[in-house]
Each structure stands twice: as C-alpha cells, then as structure tokens.
Symmetry: C2
Subunit: 170 residues, 2 copies
C-alpha cells in the first residue's frame, strides 16, 4: 500500500461525464467509418454531403449545410475536395448569380453506390457490442436528445426550411 497521494477521484468525473462520452463515441465512430471505407477515399462528412446532394440534386451550399447541420464555412472546404475528386460539379444558378448549384457526377453516383455496404457495416459495428434491445434503446434516446437539443448547437438542423424551396418552387 504505497499510496502517498490521494486517489484521483476527479478522473471519474471526466470518464462518466456525458461530454467525454460523446467525444469518445464520435472518435470511435469516425475510426470505424475510416477503417471500413478505406478502399474509398471518402470521409464521413464527405459521405453525408454526397448522399444529400444525391437525394437533392441542385441544392446550394447554404441549404446543404442546413440539411446536414454543418457549418457553412467548413462545408466550403468539403465541397472543394469533393469537386477535386470529380464527385460533384458546381453550376452557377441562372436566377441568382450568387448561388452555385451542386450536382453529383457519374463518378460521384458510382462511388456512393459502391461505398454503401461498407458504410452500413461501419454503422453496425458502432453498436455491435450492445445487445440488440440496448441498441434500439440507445438509438431512440440519442435521436430524441439530438432533436430536443437541436437549437443548442451552433448549426441547428433545418431540414424542413432548407427543403421548402426544393422540389416545389425553384
């Protein structure tokens, strides 16, 4: 028992804090995604952007950022990289000279198709250690929490607002 200093009780306060657990799970989730999808040169964020452009062709950067709860500045860089990889193209909008509309290229649609199984595998692995019932519970609680805390984040999800102007008008 050579314990000359007190036990670091405060570390427990870190390990059990929700903020720490969320950071850690995010770390793990990204690592699993990268590992499963290393054959494709796509990050989780680039994948999310690609899916959204696929489901909403002709969306602009600002609306895209609202749909996936992304910072607009960050998204600019993401778009640049996707464009550099020839997965998307930017076309200037006819009615609004400020806006650049986003579309998948053939290569972009292709990689999206091919990467799907790997993404699904990664998503599954994130929850795999839990019992099936617990997975459902966790997903349900997380979904609620993200929704109820939406306004707390700096870049709230604005799926409805962003899509209002798509598929109906413009």
């Amino acid at each position: 028992m050579p314990s000359s200093k007190p036990t670091p009780v405060t570390m427990d306060a870190v390990y059990t804090a929700p903020g720490y657990l969320f950071r850690r799970m995010q770390q793990i989730a990204v690592a699993l995604f990268i590992e499963e999808c290393k054959a494709f040169d796509l990050t989780p964020v680039q994948y999310a952007a690609l899916v959204t452009i696929s489901t909403h062709p002709g969306i602009d950067a600002t609306r895209l950022s609202a749909v996936i709860a992304f910072d607009r500045s960050t998204l600019g860089n993401v778009i640049e990289r996707l464009q550099a990889k020839d997965y998307i193209v930017r076309k200037p909008a006819a009615e609004d000279k400020r806006v650049k509309l986003l579309y998948l290229t053939k290569a972009g649609a292709g990689v999206l198709n091919e990467i799907m199984p790997s993404v699904d595998k990664a998503q599954a692995r994130m929850l795999q250690p839990l019992k099936p019932a617990d997975r459902k519970t966790l997903l349900s609680l997380l979904t609620q929490l993200v929704d109820l805390n939406n306004e707390a984040s700096r870049v709230p999800l604005r799926a409805e607002d962003a899509l209002e102007h798509l598929g109906r008008s413009g």
Copy 2:
C-alpha cells in the same frame, strides 16, 4: 401534391444512422460547454487536460494522451496553448532527457476551481431534455459502448497502463 420527384428516403438513412447521431451530439455537447464556460478561456479538450494534470501532477505528454484518449500530436498543440495561458508549466525530467513533465500553475489550479460549476451546468444541460430515468439509461449504455469499443478507436484509452508508472514508482 406537386411532388414530381420521389421522397428523399435516403436522408432518413443519414438521420437515423448512429454515426450521424454521435457527430451531432458531439457538436451539441461542445456548443453547450463553450456557451456555459465562455467566461473562461477554456475549450472542452483543454479542460480535460487540465483536470488530468491536476489529478496527476508530473505526468508527461504521452501518458496524458493515453489517459484522456487523445492523439499525441494534437495534445502537443493543446499543451502549448495551456502553457501560453500560464495554466501549466513543463519541466524537463531528470532521469529522461526526452520527457517533459506537466504541472499546474497557481493560475491553472485557480481557473480549474472556478470553472467547475459551469462545466457541471453544461454537462447537465446535455441530458436535460430527457427524463431522469432515460438519462441514466443513456449514460449507462454510452459508458458500456465506449468501453467495449475502446480498441476500435485510433487512440484507445489506456488509463491503467498510463498510471502504472505514476504514484508507485517514479
């Protein structure tokens, strides 16, 4: 009913994916921390480092990175910033000329003491939208999941290993 294009069913696959939910909660958690602690010039990561140095004075950067599951390179920058703010000092180790030991300054101990209530408030707000019973369930499931997925992350938590050499030998 002017729906000329199919409903974007695939977006649901994004919104309900665990990876998306984890990223979103991390975003929200950081935003709440920053908001509650804006009176103090400390980020969540800097706070975690400070707590750990406080509970383990004389820890070195590599061990610190293992204790809070941090990338070592990233931690270098964090340490630099904490040092620039005069919250910590680095002292070269006598036995190993490569190692620099980390200690809190008086100012560092002070800010840690003062920020605690704000951190607690932020942590509480993250789960506040849930019913108390659900908060417990979520924390329990998250703790399990982070622990069981530990090896999946690029920088696994090595609390035990890292602390072995502290407080006993050394």
